[in-house]
Symmetry: C2
Subunit: 127 residues, 2 copies
DNA sequence: TCCATAGTTCATATGTTGCGAACTATTGAA
DNA sequence: TTCAATAGTTCGCAACATATGAACTATGGA
């Protein structure tokens, strides 16, 4: 098993960060990690908003996040402890992460609102 | 020639924006468009920082930016007039674009600094 | 030593990207 | 009108990337 790669802060690239966060599954994982003050294991995410993620896929997603410099993964016994590196990134790329996470929240809220509207429209048409 | 696709503001996704801007060529194009108050043609970018971009590739890049909702392309005679949609995006995803563009600037500055350091190190070793 | 659990890696099928060649659209000149 | 020039787009294919089941590795406990 090859050692895990964690780029040093100056080797982190914008391209890498944006690419990593341009996938909704990875964005969801990262949002959870960045939003909590303790670590998460990989298998905490085998289920993401009603969608099952195969563990090999999950492992790849964590690798992308890790190698983009967004998270740090440390083995802790049989499992992994994954934490966000947001403080470091904030230092190098101020307000980038916050803006991206906020945008994801906006989009999530808009979608929920659209879905609700659609649902009530169905109800009125049916009734 | 199929008509150009411009998503309406509510159909613009964060994934799409991040993916579009995760490519350095596209980020450079977008930065130029967003930073000027007049439009640019595609062929203005056949050369980007000493690198030649084939026009078919350039056309694809513009398509990605356009379909992500980042730019608007309008035919003007024989050429295209490309303008950024940053005002609209700012409204939906506040400070996202600014943070991404700033991060790219930071990275560009850091790289230039690193290259300069390396160059002067070569000089002292040689002398 | 054996098993269970958590993740990683491999193989491969499927999807995406880059780019030369061929094409389309528009303008202007003959 | 026809022809050529210019600006972009589309096609086709090779190279690269991604998703996932199957096989594997690492760790801890019985």
């Amino acid at each position: 098993m090859r050692p895990l790669i964690h780029p040093s802060i100056e080797d982190i690239t914008v391209e890498g960060i944006l690419h990593a966060l341009s996938d909704p599954v990875r964005a969801a994982i990262y949002a959870e990690l960045a939003g909590s003050d303790y670590g998460h294991t990989c298998s905490n995410f085998l289920q993401i908003s009603d969608r099952a993620i195969p563990k090999s896929t999950l492992s790849q997603h964590f690798r992308v996040l890790r190698e983009a410099g967004l998270i740090r993964s440390e083995r802790q016994g049989v499992e992994m402890n994954n934490t966000s590196r947001c403080a470091e990134i904030e230092q190098r790329f101020p307000s980038l992460i916050a803006a991206v996470m906020n945008a994801h929240r906006v989009q999530f809220a808009d979608r929920a609102r659209a879905a609700k509207r659609k649902q009530s429209a169905r109800k009125t048409t049916a009734g």
